[in-house]
Amino acid sequence: MKNMKSKAIIWKELLDLSRDKRTLAAMILIPFIGLPAIAFLATGLTQTQTTTVYIEVLDRNSTNIAKYISYQLIQYAKINGLRVNVSMSNQAPSSVYNLLLIIPKGFYENISSIDGVGTVYLKSLVGSLQSSEVESIIESIIGQLENNIVTNRVQKLSNISGIKINSSNFLNPINIFTGYYLPSGKPASATQVELSLSARLLEFSLFFVANPAIVFMGDSILGEKERKTLETLISTPSSKTSLIIGKMIASIIIGLITAIADSLGVIIYLSMIAQNGLKLTAGLILVTFSVSALLVVMTAAIITPIVLRSSSVRSAQAMSYLIMMIALGIYFSTLFVDIQRLPYYIEDILLVIPFTHAALAISNYVLGQYLYMAVNFLVMIGFTLLGIYVSIKTFDSERLILSK
């Protein structure tokens, strides 16, 4: 009975939306290009940082060490896409420099002896990100230099003592073998390790899926009020249930479109940076897609009672932003934090937030914890039903009509 009226409302919502090019573009394009755009911005911007780092290498001895370090520095900078200007001299520089490496008198003698310690001074101008990058390059060059020195010393001692010494073994007496295991205790396959990295990114990308749902549902109800169509619609025999269900189903259809856009965006993004070891499988794509679709529906269902209960358009928007921020907080933190490894009291708080379960579903899938994943899905469905139930129960046309 009421399904037929819901159907009319779904038809209208989709038709209306299909002609609202701006909202439509936001709902499809944001999830589609969100992740690649952020990645491009982040990597692109650092690459276009064109300021040159001025480096002075001051060698009081005028030995080949300064030349060696300078040469290495230029090579490494090239590899890392940094622009450097290295100049060597044997007196204090007169112009401003970003980095100054001082090799004092007696340095060469100290490192050439069997147990002498040489000292260098590295001074850098405060506040330059690139200087600190160059600084760490210099440190690793000096680390290599140390290796060479120790190898020489070992060789010398070996010659004197007549004991054959493998200098590489001498320097690295312990081997470390690393391995990964799953929460179940079983060893993780190489694929699973790679997938768990991809999973972080996928979880982050969920924000781009949740965001349009929040916008859609808010606009679907408040927009009708603003465009002066609401009062007529809710005075028709379409019951509040068919009204809410109609709008929910419209949001499901939109959710599926958004989820497809998001999944495609992620696939494109990951295939662009595949050399960095981020990997996708059909299963992970399918799970991400399902999670995304359910997330949209759940978000719409949660936002509806909040929008319906707001006393003004502005307070509804403020609440929507707040919810958007919570979603952003959760999904952004998945880039750095493992929710499952947080202290219990924090994890418990996060588990009350519906958005958390979307992220957990993906990581549980990757970790092979399918039962937990199923629970995450059920919780999301539960939140969805709760949202719909509360919307219908608390639907109050008086509040909706009189709110400013």
Partner: protein, 263 residues
């Protein structure tokens, strides 16, 4: 079955059935303000009944209560025999309502606007909906080309005609029009009044809220003066003018309000 026939049952004549609306001592507060202060009103089936009142008199609030959108605080109310605070869905089946400040869906065409409401009123019955749409198109007096355009391209008069057509295409028993000609030019307003006159001949009750007394005079079978949340007078236009010893309805309204509130 015979005993039914045999028995001479006295069926009480329910006077209420001849009334579309019966309101007794209707009160409504919005926030802290008492907006309706004991509305008494009887509107007969099939008449054009104009609620004439100043801005802020409570006309819109009353309409919203009649449509079941707002709940009244106390009093008695029957709309087509049902209490709108309990059975709004029964009422809404037979109701056409054009709110004061309303608009069609602007990204939809005229036809699509009619179709949405036709599908709702027919509960998805396509052939019935088709009939409603045809009727709506006819009532609106909009051309096929205009009905195929998005309503964002319509003039205010065209929009209003579409809204009214959309509200009466399903043959409702009661039609509420809140300030139907407000903001329209002379031609559009005339067209809409003509439309109302024509439609009311088929037995539909029209209740029209307006602050325009000459419009009230032109349209009304019966008029009710509504001021500051109460009904001051209810009757035919002619008797209103006579009762307040006036030359026209405007003067009668002013005198009626002046008597009560000593303005």
């Amino acid at each position: 079955m015979n005993w039914i026939m045999d028995k001479t049952v006295e069926v009480p004549i329910d006077n209420n059935t001849q009334y579309s609306i019966i309101a007794e001592k209707l009160y409504k507060k919005i926030g802290k303000k008492e907006v309706l202060k004991g509305i008494d009103l009887k509107i007969k089936q099939g008449e054009i009944h104009v609620l004439a009142g100043h801005n802020g008199a409570g006309k819109t609030t009353l309409f919203r209560i009649l449509a079941g959108l707002l709940k009244y605080d106390s009093g008695k109310l029957l709309v087509m025999g049902f209490d709108p605070s309990k059975n709004q869905n029964e009422i809404r089946k037979y109701l056409g309502y054009v709110p004061e400040d309303s608009s069609p869906y602007e990204r939809l065409t005229g036809f699509e606007n009619l179709k949405l409401f036709a599908l709702i009123y027919s509960n998805g019955n396509e052939s019935l909906a088709e009939k409603y749409i045809k009727k709506g198109a006819e009532i609106s007096e909009l051309s096929y080309e205009d009905l195929s355009r998005k309503t964002s391209e319509y003039s205010n008069g065209m929009k209003k005609r579409l809204l009214i057509a959309r509200a009466i295409m399903h043959d409702p028993k009661l039609v509420l029009l809140d300030e139907p000609t407000n903001g329209l030019d002379v031609f559009s307003a005339y067209r809409i009044r003509k439309l109302i006159k024509t439609m009311s001949n088929s037995g539909t009750t029209f209740v029209i809220a307006t602050h325009n007394m000459s419009e009230a005079e032109m349209l009304a079978d019966k008029v009710s003066f509504i001021a500051y949340g109460t009904v001051l007078y209810s009757g035919s236009v002619k008797s209103a003018i006579e009762e307040f010893n006036s030359v026209n309805l405007e003067e009668a309204f002013i005198k009626a309000v002046g008597e009560k509130y000593e303005i």
